[in-house]
Symmetry: C2
Subunit: 261 residues, 2 copies
C-alpha cells in the first residue's frame, strides 16, 4: 500500500513531518506532496488560472529516502499533482494532516486538510483527514498520538470491506497516548462561529475587517465534537452526495416542476 | 424581503450585473457584495490571515440606487461581510450568481458561487446558487433567462414551507427564455474530469503543470446534469450533513470503536 501524504499547514509543519516520519518508520511506503506555505481555510480551492510548480525537498526534519515535494498550490492541487503527475504518482490512499487544530462540525468545508482528502476520494482513492485538537502552543502538541491513530486506522482499513471507498475525518484529542480514552465512530456535529466580523480603522481612518469568530460547540450525543471533548479519537465517515432528498419531495409537492419563466 | 447578491466571477461580471439589475427592476430590495476580481474555483475558502476591505462602487452598468460593494476577499468572505458588517447587513436571503458556466455534479465543492450560498446557509439564511450552462462566448450568453429563473423561484419560495431553510443549486440552460423546456427538481449528478494534469517545460527546461481537465458527464436519470442537457432548468436542493450514516454502521461492525493506540 502506497500512501500520498499532504496537508494545509505547509510542507514543513510539525504535524505532517511527524505523520510522514511515523508511517515511514513503520514500513509504510509513503511520499509527501504538500503546499510550500500555510494554506489553511482554503477549502476545496483548486488552481486553474496559473500553472503550478513542484520542488523536491531534501533534508529538513524528514527521514532520508522519503520523497518529499513542495507545491505552490492549494492542498487539493497537491493531491491532483501527487496522484496524476509524472514525478509522483501511484498512491493507493491519501492521508491529509496532521492538521494543527481540529476540523469538527461545519469546519469540514472550510478546511484545506479535509478538502485534500475529498480530492483524493474524487480521484478514486480511499482518503483520511486527520487533525489534532490542539491550540497554538507547539510545546504541548501531541502529534505523535495522532500519527499512532492513523497507523491503527490503516491497520484496520486493510481488512475492511466498504460499499464505497472510505472517506474518513479523524480528530484526535491533544493528549499523550495513554490518556486517550479510546475511539468513537461519530457523526458530524455542530460548531458555530459567533461575531465573525471585527471592524477596525487604519492609521488614515479607513475601515477594514477581520473575519474570525470564536467557535461554540454543540455537544450532541454521538457527534465528533462531543467525542473529542471527552478525550476520544473521533472517526467520522463522510460522503459527498450533497443532495437533500427530503427537500426534493417538498419542492415537487410545492409545484417547482411547474415553474415557468 | 432583502436580498444579498454575490458571485465568484467578480463584481463587474455580466452575470451578476444582469441578476442584480433584473431583481432591482422587479422591485426586490437588493444589495451586492462581490469579489473585486474573478475568484472562480476557490471553493469555501475564507480569509483568516489578512484583513479585508470593502469599496462602494458607483456607476458602471448597475442601476442607480442599487448599493454595490467590492471586496478583496473570497465569495464566502463577501457573504460574511455582506451579512455581518456595519456597512451592509440585513439580508433575508443570499443569491449567488449568475455564474459563467454550470455548477453540476461534483463541481459543487470547488465552486466559489455555490460555496457562497453555503456560507449564507451557515449564517442562517435561505440561499440560492445560480449558474448558466454557457461557454465563454459572451455574445451568446443568456443571463436574462437565468435571472428570470431566480425571479420565478423567489416567487415560489415566499409561499414555501421547508423543514429547514432551503439551500438550492440552480443551473439554467444557455437558451432564450422561450426555448427552455421547463423546470426539474433534481439530485446531484456526476461529472468527471479526465486527464487533470498537463506537464509543460518553461524556456529554461524546467517542468510546470496546469490543472484542468475536460468534464465527462454521466447522464443519470433525475440528475442535474441530465436535466440541463435536455433543456430544463435544474433545481437541486442541497444539504451540508456530510455524515455517511451507512458507513458508521460498517465501521462499528468492523471494530473501529475498539481501536487502541
Amino acid at each position: 500500500m502506497k500512501i500520498l501524504i499532504t496537508n494545509d499547514d505547509g510542507v514543513f509543519a510539525p504535524g505532517i513531518v511527524t505523520l510522514a516520519s511515523c508511517l515511514h518508520e513503520r514500513g509504510f511506503c509513503t511520499y509527501v506532496v504538500a503546499p510550500d506555505r500555510e494554506r489553511s481555510s482554503v477549502g476545496h480551492a483548486i488552481t486553474l488560472t496559473r500553472p503550478l510548480r513542484l520542488w523536491k525537498i531534501t533534508g529538513g526534519r524528514y527521514p532520508e529516502n522519503l520523497p518529499v515535494y513542495a507545491c505552490d498550490g492549494t492542498p487539493s492541487d497537491c493531491v491532483v499533482l501527487g496522484l496524476e503527475s509524472e514525478e509522483c504518482s501511484g498512491a493507493d490512499i491519501v492521508v491529509s494532516g496532521i492538521n494543527k487544530g481540529p476540523n469538527l462540525g461545519d469546519d469540514l468545508t472550510y478546511s484545506g486538510t479535509v478538502s485534500a482528502a475529498v480530492e483524493g476520494y474524487f480521484l478514486g482513492k480511499p482518503a483520511i483527514a486527520v487533525s489534532l485538537n490542539c491550540g497554538s502552543d507547539e510545546e504541548s502538541q501531541h502529534y505523535d498520538s495522532a500519527a499512532e491513530a492513523v497507523v491503527a486506522i490503516l491497520g484496520k482499513l486493510e481488512i475492511q470491506k466498504f460499499g464505497e471507498k472510505p472517506l474518513l475525518n479523524v480528530n484526535v484529542p491533544d493528549l499523550p497516548k495513554h490518556e486517550i480514552r479510546g475511539t468513537r465512530v461519530t457523526k458530524k456535529g455542530f460548531r458555530y462561529y459567533k461575531e465573525k466580523v471585527t471592524r477596525l480603522l487604519d492609521p488614515k481612518g479607513n475601515e477594514y475587517y477581520w473575519v474570525s469568530g470564536k467557535p461554540e460547540d454543540r455537544l450532541d450525543e454521538g457527534s465528533d465534537v462531543k467525542a473529542v471533548s471527552e478525550g476520544y479519537i473521533s472517526v467520522t465517515p463522510i460522503h459527498m452526495d450533497l443532495t437533500d432528498y427530503e427537500a426534493i419531495e417538498v419542492l415537487r409537492r410545492e409545484g417547482f416542476e411547474d415553474l415557468k419563466i
